[in-house]
């Protein structure tokens, strides 16, 4: 210690202190390593992360309607929300509806319809009949064209659109909405669909996780304890489904589960069920759960197997030797040791299951639909992209929480493939 302080810092051959020189080399190495990762990182950011971010921004974006009715919203803000808006609001509305051309007004009226149904038809009708109005005052003439212009509820519904961002889609995604005074209320009974679907999504995912664990744990144990030449052969049975197309497996299940399918036929031949009351195993929640269990089973077995492989067989032998019954030994010794595998497999299956779309769509029928199906529905059919993005963002947030937990417990770099 003392000699070091006397002779000063250690120097390299060219006179630079060793510490500085090492730090420099370290920094150079860091940059070099980072440069290798950079191309992929940039690629993933552009092709994947930014699109996801774009979706997130869409879920609160309300700018479009503000570009179509900028002046109306400006004067609308001054209105005291009592009775009907002043003439000025009617006037700007009149001119801005006339100014907006086909596509623009269509898109805006669709947006307005989300907060109060009826807006779309009102605007469509008004567009045709506004030609009759030559000059102001506009208020009475507009109400004469359609009574709805005289209904304060329609006007108040505009209140939630005057800001460039809205929480409306998120509210819709959990069966809430703004009322005419911009207070958050529950959707009417007959329009509540999403909370039910969210619960169903979690229920199905949990059940699938539970079933895969029940089916996967014993076979992972068998694979881990058999001699390698047998277990390698059996491992193929786990890996082949993993490599087989999802659609192929779903088709196969449709053949098995349909009313005249393999399962029902066998049961009828065996005399276990009568020909006329065959079980309905497909196009419902049961079908979704059965098929998803089989499809996700490898994702449970593989992590379990890799953990169980590291548990020394002598632990169990020791426990048995010390007088524990086999069940007791398993519960107190083997099970706790295999817990990391259970959490890895369970989280993985759950994460994959909550975002499932293909299987519920094909075998789920009406009753087996999950949240992924609603996202697809709004994306392709209703074109309500705000709601689609909001549903997607909530699903993503839920999934990221589980991904974070997974990363904390197991670590992403420990994901094993085959």
């Amino acid at each position: 210690m003392s000699s070091e302080t006397i002779s000063g810092p250690i120097l390299t051959s060219d006179g630079i202190p060793l510490k500085v020189s090492l730090r420099k080399a370290e920094k150079r190495n860091k940059i070099r390593a980072f440069l290798l990762v950079l191309p992929l990182l940039a690629f993933i950011l552009i092709t994947f992360i930014i699109p996801i971010g774009d979706m997130l921004s869409r879920s609160v974006d309300d700018r479009y309607i503000n570009t179509v009715f900028p002046k109306t919203f400006e004067v609308f803000k001054k209105w005291d929300k009592q009775d009907l808006p002043p003439e000025e609001v009617y006037e700007t509305m009149f001119f801005e509806i006339n100014a907006a051309k086909g596509y623009k007004i269509g898109k805006s009226s669709t947006r307005m319809n989300y907060s109060k149904s009826g807006w779309k038809s009102l605007i469509k009708k008004s567009q045709r009949k506004f030609k009759r109005i030559k000059e102001g005052p506009y208020k009475e003439q507009m109400i004469e064209i359609d009574k709805r212009w005289g209904d304060p509820l329609y006007w108040k519904a505009l209140g939630e659109m005057v800001d460039p961002t809205t929480m409306g889609y998120y509210l819709n995604a959990v069966d809430l909405k703004y009322d005419s005074n911009k207070e958050i209320i529950a959707q009417p009974e007959n329009r509540r669909i999403y909370n039910h679907t969210w619960i169903k999504t979690f229920k199905v995912s949990l059940l699938v996780t539970l079933f895969t664990l029940m089916l996967g744990y014993p076979i992972a144990y068998l694979l881990a304890t058999l001699p390698l030449k047998y277990s390698n052969l059996l491992m193929i049975c786990v890996l082949l489904p993993f490599w087989t197309s999802l659609l192929v497996r779903t088709v196969a299940w449709m053949i098995i589960l349909q009313q005249n399918g393999v399962f029902n036929n066998l049961m009828v031949i065996a005399g276990l069920i009568a020909d006329e009351n065959r079980w309905k195993l497909m196009y419902n929640e049961t079908g979704t759960i059965i098929v998803m269990t089989q499809i996700l089973l490898p994702f449970m077995v593989l992590p379990l197997y890799s953990v169980m492989k590291t548990i020394s067989p002598s632990y169990m032998k020791a426990a048995l030797n010390l007088g524990a019954s086999p069940l007791h030994a398993f519960w107190k010794v083997y099970m706790p040791n295999s817990l990391p595998g259970i959490s890895a497999g369970g989280l993985l299956v759950f994460i994959i299951a909550i975002g499932y779309f293909i299987t519920p769509e094909l075998v789920g029928g009406k009753d087996g639909q999950m949240i992924g199906n609603w996202i697809a529905y709004h994306l392709k059919t209703t074109l309500n992209w705000g709601l689609c993005a909001a549903l997607g963002s909530i699903l993503l947030a839920v999934m990221l929480v589980f991904y974070w937990v997974y990363n904390k417990i197991i670590g992403v770099e420990n994901i094993k493939l085959g």
Partner: protein, 295 residues
């Protein structure tokens, strides 16, 4: 685990019921895949095992759906689903998109894995989490995000869009398998090569590459099968023009219920068996090379 000779009757019963249970689970896993195989030779247009089919009557068996899959149309057909060349076009497209995106994913992923395996890599955890995310995020969310963003860039309904999307989806597999191969890689080999006068590129291709090749190939195969099986992104980002095998199967299931699906499914099962065998052989070779002995 075998049963010891001194096992009690209770243990024996327990052991054999355990084996039966496992047998049932393996059957549950594997049987559905082989159900499609015989049915693809049925002449019936429904996905059913008919009585005639089961008693091997010659009229009940045929290869007509295979002919339709290949785009060979028989004008004398009594039952015709719409004869179409979409299956063959789909095959070509699937391989085209699959090969290009696999190539890109493998190149990008391998280089990134080399960087990630260096001891000096900064923010390793965060970067790894980002690079793996395409594998974790549900496909429907990926598809929605890409649909919104790519349509702004005019990339929807184009091969470029699909290839970029599939490359992003395939890279996590390459990163995972190659980093796994690189654990236990002896960095002295690189130093030795460099001290003998080889430059970076030469070292990479002559020293590193041969050693990590099994990992690279299995990563590439994972990336390929991911692209080859992928249907959600294709449905939303692609158009009818970019029909792929999964997209055509999807259409076949949703709209036409065409038995040709079963023929294509059979071919896909054959392909997955081939790919699985390759990956397994590679994995064992790589374990042997790294000196991990089988117990």
């Amino acid at each position: 685990m075998a049963l010891p000779v001194y096992a009690t009757t209770g243990q024996r019963i327990g052991y054999y019921s355990f084996l039966t249970y496992c047998g049932f689970v393996f059957f549950f896993l594997i049987a559905p895949i082989f159900v499609v195989l015989p049915l693809s030779f049925s002449s019936s247009p429904f996905f059913e095992f008919t009585r005639e089919f089961m008693s091997f009557e010659s009229e009940a068996w045929s290869i007509r759906w295979y002919k339709q899959m290949l785009g060979i149309c028989d004008p004398n057909e009594i039952i015709t689903t719409v004869c179409t060349d979409k299956w063959m076009r789909g095959t070509v497209n699937s391989f085209y998109i699959g090969f290009v995106s696999t190539f890109l994913a493998t190149a990008l992923g391998t280089v990134a894995a080399l960087g990630l395996s260096r001891p000096h890599m900064p923010f390793k955890g965060l970067i790894m989490a980002i690079l793996i995310s395409p594998m974790i995020v549900p496909l429907i969310i990926t598809a929605a995000g890409m649909f919104f963003f790519y349509s702004k860039l005019g990339l929807t309904h184009s091969y470029t869009g699909l290839i970029l999307a599939h490359t992003a989806l395939g890279t996590p597999f390459v990163v995972i398998t190659v980093t796994a191969t690189l654990t236990g890689f002896d960095n002295n080999l690189i130093r030795a090569s460099q001290s003998l006068g080889a430059d970076t590129m030469r070292t990479f291709f002559k020293v590193i590459m041969p050693l990590i090749l099994p990992g690279v190939i299995s990563g590439a195969l994972f990336a390929f099968i991911t692209s080859f099986d992928e249907v959600v992104v294709v449905l939303f980002v692609g158009s009818v023009e970019q029909v792929t095998i999964p997209r055509q199967m999807w259409a076949g299931l949703r709209q036409e219920i065409s038995p040709v699906i079963l023929c294509m499914a059979t071919c896909l099962v054959a392909l997955s068996i081939a790919l699985l065998t390759t990956v397994e052989l590679l994995r064992r070779r790589s374990e042997r090379l790294r000196g991990i002995k089988h117990r």
